[in-house]
Symmetry: C2
Subunit: 560 residues, 2 copies
């Protein structure tokens, strides 16, 4: 089999050196470009062939062994089959080159390519013909097997149609351009298969059909009208078989976007002089109090998992780093079983010295997020489209300069709309949603900052307002009416911090080293925390945060 | 005080608009650039002055209130003092601009600047003169107070010399260039102080003196010769007062380099088609077995903290993402109390599909680290110098193409050097160190990859060699004779994986969802894991991993 592989490889290499390809109509004959080899190329090829010859013997034996029933009498048996275990055990480096499926385009017409992908659909047409759609990441291509004398035998067609869906397959073939556009695949070329090897077989009966998992709401609506029965894959089933669920185009897109959000977060902050840090997740005491914590035994000492890097990022500011950020795990032992809470998520945290005003922090939020949204819209079009196909959504509306409202203004807007709210209490999820709609109507934005929250609803380390201690130098940020960021100026005065902690019912002894950090010269500072999963969920208007966590953790789920 | 601030601010703005500065000798007179104001600038200035005038009254009262004992009779009282709490509570945005201390250079000669920094040293010369060295991040500048009629009173000098070290201070002044080079500061200019306000006072007696904490071994050696008594700050004291310890130039540098390592890691992998992921840290079962785990109760279920993202990053590969990486917390409940083990550290993890051979993974390691070392040497000179001053070290030697040795070759080298080693056992720390020295001598590199480890010393998910099941498709990577990376091809065949897990004494029921992941079509793959703290420690040849963790966690330390 190696020998067979190597031949195609030489072809592929040769093809890469060849002059511009002929038009699709010209390329029915098989490619023979050996005549155009340079001396160096010929020498390289000879060397490779000699090397491959040595392997040929065992490879042929191997191929025979693995295709006993279907291929014993087949003279083209070397062109297909299951690869041997030893061939995927780092036995040798052939020097062959694989082309990514996403890179298969008309520019490769009539070229020989080698691709590796997942057999997404396998469709026998006759004993002499079959289609196999191969998928790699977010791209798919149609591979065509047509019986001929040189490459494809009826046995090979049978072998291909006998593969189970989702098996990993290597295909060598020629790129051709069909007359009509191809509806079912992302790539608008076909691969005329010459060789096909199964790298890894999936079980025949998959717990989830990728086709079902990728189906859009629109399809379900249409099916309802026509009376067609479609399988709907529920959230729990998806999460139980997450490895399969992750293969849908929408999920491939979601986690690419998530990575992109983190890219922009990091890049933007680095360009603004911030330093990325890592604070401990295993801590003594109960960190910030408030939300429930996961407790554990740490070498005989009571410990807990950090609910946020809050205290530590502030300590690093006291350590003289000026501006810092952290991307890290955050743990909340909350019992909330909602569409927007997880017991473990990824926190994007920022903390910075301020000179005069916590609006310096809001400025960073403003510019960071406008940069992020711009970047996503510009550079993740394919991903956003993939999500939109399965979960249709309206693009996020945001202003070039982010709207800032005071909490009191928000209260007033809600009251004027007939919503009963406590002017010194926190907004509940419903009120936040409503305010989001009111802001959208009035200001034409889905993204805004709400400042100057009542002190009573903020954590103890929040700086009170200079002119009214009932309010605080704090803010929340909303996307589509849901909170994604909390931020504030912090108390950097140890006496005030102690008073505030006590007033909030926190045992100051448990946070002594934190409070002490402010005794050695502490700069005024502020910061904010973001939930990464929430940013992605709300930017794409997804309905559940479990969709934006690879392996979500909620009160009822700890596996897989 | 605001009014006073505003005046200087206008000056600073004006200075920024003014023609190239005169030579240092020209600038004894105070700066008056109002004549060169454009109409627009003048209007802006007038507007600002009017605004500031309104604040003047309360500011003056405030200044007076805070300087009762020293300043009542001082006509220049507005030029110094402690700022009021309300002035650092987000009261107003003045529009003033602060210059970073690191940006103070000869190009700013005779310009008015406003800086904020930490009072590192305060040196009274007489009742009429004092020096204050201000520090910001890794930069320091000398500020000079000299009594004159316009700005600095004897009271002001007294106020300045009465400040406690490490207090946060705002200084307005003119940049001047001294005749002789300044030895004690990074910036080669001085600030002739006109105004000085204390933003936050530190306690008078600091638990650690930054000067002591920053002292180099060379200084201690010299002191020993002269009989001088120097305070040596021990590791535990440093860590107990980490917020102060972090302010030394070496520590400022270490964590900037750490961030830079992560930058390069991420940027390199992104450019190679890898996607950043986040896997859960709260998991059921005992993840990989082997090393001790932290256990906890998860809503009534037994859970533990992930010892690595190993199983999850592999599952994401089965989810069809091709190439992934993760930067995240890793927890090890080990009892090791060594210079190189922590109970919590930052893992840099990589996992990728491979086509044929685990050397594809080694290729990534090779190129990633060469890129990283190049980048650090080129872009972190200042940081490396700062570390070198306190902890002198030899620059890392590495080859353009990283050396790869087989484990068996390593064993042979050790045996030839007279070291007794088990050819199928693991190398202990001493043997690794020795091999590092032998490799350094023979190949002139401190960085190399050791491949093909005995299967018995690798985790159950490691792919055995095709030709000898006593060995595995695995590797470790060493810097200066210490391991920083473990990597391998993984077993992607569920039957073999089950057999291997059982052979390693792992209860396969606890990892059922992991093993099942390979039943739905699994690509051959491999990857590696790096300890971030170790990379920084070993690149800079530091002697303890606690130096490269902001708040290290070991069996005896959970605070701060």
């Amino acid at each position: 089999m190696r020998g067979a592989f190597a031949m195609a490889s030489s072809e592929a290499e040769t093809a890469a050196q060849a002059p511009p390809p002929p038009t699709p109509a010209d390329c029915n004959a098989s490619e023979t470009a050996a005549g155009s080899l340079s001396k160096k190329q010929a020498k390289k090829l000879a060397k490779k062939e000699a090397k491959e010859d040595r392997k040929q013997q065992s490879a042929t034996a191997a191929a025979a062994a693995s295709q006993v029933d279907s291929a014993e009498a087949d003279p083209l048996a070397a062109n297909y089959g299951d690869v041997l275990v030893e061939d995927i055990q780092s036995k040798a480096i052939s020097g062959r080159e694989w082309t990514e499926i996403g890179a298969l385009g008309v520019d490769l017409a009539c070229r020989a390519v080698l691709i590796r992908g997942v057999a997404q659909t396998i469709r026998p047409v006759s004993k002499k013909m079959a289609f196999v759609v191969l998928r790699q990441f977010m791209s798919t291509v149609q591979c065509v097997l047509t019986v001929d004398k040189e490459f494809v035998s009826p046995h090979m067609v049978k072998f291909a149609t006998g593969l189970s869906k989702e098996s990993i397959v290597d295909v060598e073939g020629m790129i051709s351009i069909p007359k009509d556009p191809i509806k079912g695949t992302t790539q608008q070329v076909e691969v005329q298969v010459r060789k096909l090897y199964c790298i890894n077989r999936s079980v025949p009966n998959l717990p989830i059909n990728i086709e079902d998992a990728a189906r859009s709401e629109t399809e379900f609506e249409k099916a309802e009208l026509t009376g067609e029965q479609l399988v709907r894959v529920g959230q729990d089933t998806r999460l139980n078989y997450r490895v399969l669920d992750l293969r849908t185009p929408a999920n491939q897109a979601i986690f690419r976007i998530q990575c992109h959000v983190e890219d922009v977060f990091r890049r933007f902050l680095r360009s603004e002089g911030f330093i990325g840090i890592h604070s401990p997740k295993l801590i003594s005491g109960s960190s910030e109090g408030g939300a429930a914590v996961f407790k554990l035994d740490y070498k005989g000492q009571p410990a807990c998992l950090a609910q946020s890097p809050q205290l530590y990022k502030q300590m690093v500011i006291c350590g003289g780093f000026g501006r810092v950020f952290e991307v890290g795990s955050v743990f909340r032992a909350e019992d909330s079983y909602t569409h927007r809470h997880l017991c473990e998520f990824v926190g994007l945290d920022v903390e910075m010295e301020i000179k005069e005003h916590y609006f310096e922090v809001c400025d960073i939020v403003d510019r960071l997020f406008v940069a992020m949204f711009d970047d996503l819209n510009e550079n993740c079009k394919k991903e956003l489209d993939a999500i939109n196909r399965q979960y249709p959504f309206e693009p996020l509306k945001y202003l070039r300069k982010t709207l800032r409202l005071n909490f009191q203004e928000g209260i007033k807007m809600l009251q004027e709309a007939g919503v009963e709210v406590d002017p010194l209490g926190d907004l509940n999820t419903e009120a936040e949603k409503k305010l989001g709609r009111l802001v959208h109507e009035k200001y034409d934005t889905d993204f805004y900052i709400l400042c100057r929250y009542p002190l009573a609803v903020r954590p103890f380390y929040t700086m009170p307002c200079y002119d009214d201690p009932a309010y605080s130098n704090s803010f929340d940020v909303f996307i589509r009416g849901e909170e994604i960021i909390s931020g504030a100026q912090r108390v950097h005065l140890p006496e005030l911090l102690t008073t505030r902690a006590e007033a909030c019912g926190i045992d100051v002894k448990t946070i002594a080293s934190y409070i002490d950090s402010f005794r050695y010269g502490a700069p005024p500072h502020g910061g904010f925390g973001i939930g990464l999963e929430r940013v992605v969920m709300l930017f794409c208007a997804l309905n559940n945060i479990r969709k934006t966590s690879l392996f979500p953790r909620d009160p009822q789920r700890l596996v897989p």
